[in-house]
């Protein structure tokens, strides 16, 4: 009897835990409704969407606000109303899953999205998992919008993102370095075991020497670094006497590296990948980072785009989701999540209801690719107009460099456009892709 009581207690605890986990990861959208069968009388089309995010894994430092942006976007457009070209209302049914940056778990959730909910589109996250799922998405005709801007995804038929790939972004950063310093010496700091961090490295190695930049070091900086790890990596990097450091990790790790540089009295400027730098950077890296760090961004920082129509849409979405500015750590990450949804919405708005119902994910893909020689997708000034061509989903090639000034404020430089060198190709060739 007593044994049963204790067993009951254990089961209860596990159930509570499971319920908590479900509450956090499952957002009770409407059940997976299929659309009305008779196409003549379609009133509403329910578009099933899977949302795959990192809320608890090593990239959750940037993943949570991205996830908020995605959810806010879906809620906002559901409330505001999305209509196909022929005026049929579209409603997103969506399911959110925290895969903790674990590609195996991402695959499990992908199968759940596909087999249980029959999703037409996925708003995803990381590089390793998106690259791994790209072929499945193509086979299953699921339009996949990722937060990973890996060059390898540019050539995948069902993968989209509203930004240049990491390699093109890094090439723009190299161009910026070359414009500031002749024959600059550069050390690469990144986690050698993380697909996102490694992604633009081949393009940097191919493009930088053409601009006269000498790569003098290639140092491992763990994504989950402590100050001790960052200091160790910086000591090694400093032995190469560089003018610039490329930090290819996410924000926590890069902020610690810049902090370590200040502590060790290192000279040189940090140029940081898109997920390694945002509005929080000055606070995270501290005063020692002032005037010595810059981030790459294909998007206008929200605080620098307050006069744009896109910003008004973004803040409206934030309010629709019940968030205040205080609830969002980084508006840039929120914006990145939101833009992925906005891109999906614009693609749907280009379709008529029959095509959407018939083609589902494939129709969304074709709508996106219709921009190749047609009207580009626009984001109200938050990002440049985007065009996707079949076989090459590189929407544009310019980025801003966001400089952390000596005054502790962020200043945008650019946009910088990469021309005359195919950075995507450089990455694909190096990986046999």
């Amino acid at each position: 009897m007593a044994q049963a009581k204790y067993l009951g207690l254990i089961v209860a605890v596990i159930l509570v835990a499971a319920a908590a986990a479900l509450l956090l990861t499952h957002h009770p959208a409407q059940p997976a409704q299929t659309t009305t069968t008779s196409m003549q009388h379609v009133k509403t089309i329910h578009v099933p969407v899977g949302v795959l995010v990192d809320l608890s894994g090593p990239t959750s430092g940037v993943g949570r606000d991205y996830a908020k942006g995605v959810e806010a976007g879906l809620k906002y457009f559901n409330e505001k109303g999305v209509y196909t070209r022929d005026g049929v209302r579209v409603v997103f049914d969506y399911w959110v899953r925290d895969y903790a940056y674990n590609p195996t778990r991402a695959e499990t959730f992908y199968k759940e999205f596909r087999d249980k909910y029959g999703v037409w589109a996925i708003i995803g996250w990381g590089t390793a998992d998106t690259e791994q799922l790209a072929d499945s998405a193509a086979r299953d005709h699921i339009a996949y919008f990722s937060a990973s801007y890996s060059a390898k995804l540019v050539v995948k038929p069902y993968n989209f993102f509203p930004a240049p790939d990491y390699s093109t972004q890094a090439c723009a950063a190299m161009k910026w370095i070359a414009s500031r310093t002749r024959n600059a010496r550069l050390v690469l700091l990144y986690d050698h075991n993380v697909a996102y961090s490694r992604s633009p490295i081949p393009a940097i190695k191919a493009y930088a020497p053409r601009l006269g930049i000498k790569i003098v070091g290639d140092v491992h900086l763990p994504l989950r670094a402590t100050e001790a790890d960052a200091e160790k990596a910086m000591r090694e990097a400093m032995t190469k006497n560089p003018d610039y450091y490329w930090c290819g990790n996410t924000i926590r790790s890069c902020a610690l590296a810049v902090k370590a540089a200040a502590k060790l009295g290192a000279k040189g400027m940090f140029v940081i990948n898109v997920w390694g730098f945002d509005e929080r950077f000055p606070k995270l890296a501290g005063r020692g980072a002032y005037g010595r760090a810059a981030g790459v961004s294909p998007f206008r920082y929200p605080e620098m785009a307050e006069d744009t129509p896109g910003y008004k849409v973004l803040t409206a979405a934030m309010k629709a989701a019940g968030y205040t500015r205080k609830d969002i750590g980084s508006m840039l990450r929120f914006e990145q999540g939101f833009l992925n949804v906005w891109l999906l919405v614009q693609a749907i708005e280009r379709l008529n209801s029959t095509t959407l119902l018939k083609g589902k994910g494939e129709a969304i893909k074709e709508a996106l690719e219709s921009s190749c020689h047609g009207k580009p997708f626009t984001f109200g000034g938050l990002a440049p107009p985007a065009r996707y061509c079949p076989g090459r989903h590189l929407p544009y090639t310019s980025v801003w460099i966001i400089l952390l000034g000596k005054d502790g404020k962020l200043h945008a430089e650019g946009p910088i456009n990469v021309t005359g060198f195919d950075c995507v190709k450089a990455t694909l060739q190096s990986s046999g892709g």
Binding site: I10, A17, S56, S60, R64, R224, G329
Partner: protein, 295 residues
Amino acid sequence: MDALSLAVNTGFQALVLGMIYAALALGYNMVYRASKAINLAEPELVVFAAYIAFIAFSWYGLPVPVSFLASLAAGFLIGVVLERLLARPLRGRPVVALMAATLGAYYVLRGVSMVASRGFEMGSLGIPEVYQAVGPLRVSLSDVVAAGLSSATILAVIMLHRFTRLGVAMRAVSEDPFGATAYGLPVRRLTMLSWGIAGAVSAAAALALAVKAQVGPTLDFYALKALAASLLAGLDSIAGVVVGGLALGFIEQFGSLLLDPYMPGLGSQLAFIAMLIVLLVKPYGIFGTERIERV
């Protein structure tokens, strides 16, 4: 940079990190001594405690010491609640039941910390950036705060166990609960207190860790590494756990210093490899008490 400076600075960072690991490992140790089970909720307790300090400091504008105290209080409270809700009802049941229950508590705490932090991602505890060179050594204020917090925690636990009546009573309960009952010791209350103190110790270690690695949901990863230190040393020995934590810090820092240029990332995994080897040779850890059971 010369080799001496590199060795001195790496050694210093290894020491600071080792003390943090040791303090984290003490959280496991105290629960193990009280209930003979590994508290698998500790990694998330660490995250939760760090967030409490961050929220108090950053959102409510409380001074850093007050934020830290709030975090310690939260850690203590969680420890007490875990004992009351999980350890006490499962007393006398197979240890694996309690471990499973603490694993459940891990997920509950994770949910609570996400809700409490309103999904906030990460932040800094706002330790001012002050650096000082001492010979070849570069020391920052965050080094001093982290080392101070973790060493004070370790010392407090040792002194509690060695020099106070409460500590002696807790040891007695841990070693022979039936004998302790016969001597009139309030076994239940002392066990609850052990869990509470373990929670506060974990919270203190979490703060030291957050100073060195910033507040974020991935702090649980370091608490898991500290479990490796505990197992390496032997879960029931306080001195052993301290040695294990320090060993982990040194193995990790010097391992990655030497191996990262050739095999990036391997150095930080050396601790786990060492733990596996030790457990194969000495299943109760280097300093652990070997239990002889009659069958």
